[in-house]
């Protein structure tokens, strides 16, 4: 089997061998572009949906006016690019009393974490010109799920650093709240993910998806881990909202008490990096939810052909494209769910948050793990091997 990128280039150019660093550079560029464009789109979508939920219209005036006249849903689509460019052009303030090293390090760290977490996420698979289907990801790591959870801890570090280095009591409180919150919600999250790990017998995200496609007890749809580890899915979703500091778990940046939390002293570019990373992380947890609980790029009983004959033209890599379309459709469905949650529920109190996490979600995730172990044992005894 050959890496998809190198194969693609060779097909396109007729035998050109790419140097070893080219796939890394290309994937870095692709992920960067994806983060920027996707975050812009998500922010716009969030503002439109927020408007809809609150009986408003959201941004209407940026971009060509005809779009806004057509329907309120299409208006203001140029809003987020405007915001981004404005943030780039604004004055960059580093207050005199801050700890300069930490202050400048924190946004870079948080962005690095947001970037690095994309590595093992599988978005599709292809069997075009391959003996067996291969998973399309930057690198489908053997320890993918563990890697993702580990990298998330870098975000805590960055937020703590931002809070401490700003030399501002609101920032410090916000940073510490964020740290405590992410740290304590990471544990039920990991235990919630352990159910699927046990069911699939693997930590690789690509394997998880393939196992789900194969089905549980021989039934395809049952294989979506949403079904056997339903509790785990619910716990993961709640923890994911808490991890990304989104309402109703946004104590770290509660405007009423903490101004803007850990990002209080940040201006322009540096603030934009925090913002971008936050939305990128939101999308990442949705992608993980899709891959781990919703069957990733597959649909039950649907295997797209590796190339599509359109009569006048044969479209190669059709299964790759179809898989990507399915994957992103599912991921955006989860994004919409998160937005619905965000604009519906009021904010929790910090002590309620801790109680909820430790006394409710953690036992629930243990129960889920137990259920998954029993199911995996049944599968192993009566149907042979792991579900895959």
């Amino acid at each position: 089997m050959e890496p998809i990128f190198e194969q693609f280039v060779r097909d396109l150019t007729g035998g050109f061998q790419v140097p070893f660093w080219a796939p890394m550079l290309v994937s870095l560029g692709l992920v960067l572009a994806f983060i920027a464009l996707n975050a812009m789109f998500m922010i716009w979508l969030e503002r439109k949906i927020c408007g809809r939920i609150q009986r408003r219209m959201g941004p209407m005036l940026t971009g060509p006016k005809a779009w806004a006249r057509f329907s309120m849903w299409t208006g203001g689509w140029f809003q987020t690019p405007c915001d981004s460019v404005k943030l780039l052009l604004k004055e960059d303030i580093i207050p005199a009393q801050v700890d300069r090293f930490g202050f400048m390090l924190a946004p870079v760290l948080v962005f690095m974490a947001a970037l690095a977490v994309y590595v093992p996420l599988p978005i599709s698979s292809t069997s075009y010109a391959q003996s067996a289907p291969i998973v399309v990801a930057v690198a489908d790591l053997d320890i993918g799920l563990l890697y993702v959870v580990a990298i998330t801890t870098l975000t805590i570090l960055a937020i703590l650093t931002a809070g401490w280095a700003s030399n501002n009591k609101y920032s410090l409180l916000g940073g510490m709240r964020a740290g405590v919150q992410i740290l304590s919600y990471e544990i039920p999250m990991l235990f919630a993910l352990m159910g699927p790990m046990v069911l699939a017998g693997s930590l690789s995200l690509g394997d998880l998806v393939l196992v789900q496609h194969a089905g549980l007890f021989g039934v395809p749809l049952l294989g979506w881990f949403l079904v056997p580890s339903f509790l785990g899915a619910v716990v993961y979703l709640i923890c994911a909202v808490a991890e990304t500091n989104r309402p109703p778990f946004d104590m770290p940046e509660a405007e009423q008490e903490l101004v803007a939390g850990f990002s209080t002293e940040y201006t322009a570019m540096r603030f934009a990096m925090f913002y971008l990373a936050e939305f990128s992380n939101t999308f990442v947890v949705c992608m993980i939810f899709t891959a781990v609980f919703l069957g990733g790029w597959t649909l039950p009983g649907f295997i797209p052909p590796s190339s599509l004959n359109l009569g006048f033209f044969t479209l190669p890599y059709f299964d790759l494209l179809a898989g990507m379309a399915i994957f992103f459709a599912k991921a955006y469905a989860v994004v919409l769910l998160l937005m619905w949650i965000r604009w519906t529920f009021p904010r929790l109190r910090p002590d309620h948050l801790m109680t909820f996490g430790w006394k409710f979600l953690l036992p629930l995730s243990f129960v889920n793990l137990l259920v998954c172990i029993v199911l995996a044992a049944i599968q192993q005894i009566y149907f042979g091997g792991n579900p895959g």
Partner: protein, 198 residues
């Protein structure tokens, strides 16, 4: 904006420099006008109207205006309400903490000239422009949300007339009988009723 202030002065002097600068000016102004993030603070009764303007019926967000709680991230300061002498230094400090480019709207009579406290208000600052530069004055006590929206549109118009490296124009005054604001298209002075989605 250290760099942004110096470059246009050089470019403008070159032959054909203004041709280069015009689209740049247009783009920068358009971007700034489309995303004026205002600072979340209110001083008195005008703040209630400010909240109403941000809420469902009038909806600041359609102008691309969202609130930021910290001055570091906001572009626009809406001084809403009676500014007492005790509060004045804080407002000045908040204005100084905002990053350039920053704009100020003085909302209502009190912030414009002292309002009802003009004669006897020993504790009231008679005009916020005594401590910080103001771009738009909105009359009214308090101004209706339509007037505030009108002021924001005027603010946008003023930003669109900016030229890099040159001082800003004089302040704009919005009279209390400002025209109606059309909520569907965002243009001023139409007679249509507000359309509310849903």
């Amino acid at each position: 904006m250290g760099l942004m202030d110096r470059i246009p002065a050089y470019v403008d002097r070159l032959p054909g420099g203004s041709v280069v600068m015009a689209p740049v000016d247009w783009a920068i102004n358009e971007v700034q006008a489309s995303s004026m993030w205002y600072m979340l603070f209110g001083l008195a009764c005008c703040a209630i109207e400010l909240m109403a303007t941000g809420a469902a019926r009038y909806d600041f967000d359609r102008l691309g205006m969202i609130f930021r709680a910290t001055p570091r991230q906001s572009d626009l300061m809406i001084v809403a309400g009676t500014l007492t002498l005790k509060m004045a230094p804080r407002v000045k400090l908040l204005h100084e903490q905002m990053a350039e480019p920053r704009y100020v709207i003085a909302m209502g009579g009190c912030t414009t000239y002292g309002g009802p406290f003009y004669h006897d208000g020993y504790s009231v600052l008679k005009g916020v422009d005594k401590i910080i530069p103001v771009d738009v004055f909105i009359a009214g006590c308090p101004p209706r949300p339509e007037a505030l929206l009108n002021g924001c549109l005027a603010m946008q118009e003023k930003i669109r007339r900016n030229k890099l490296g040159q001082p800003r124009g004089p302040a704009i005054h919005i009279p209390p009988t400002a025209g109606r604001f059309s909520l569907s298209t965002g243009t001023a002075e139409t007679e249509r009723d507000p359309q509310i989605p849903g």
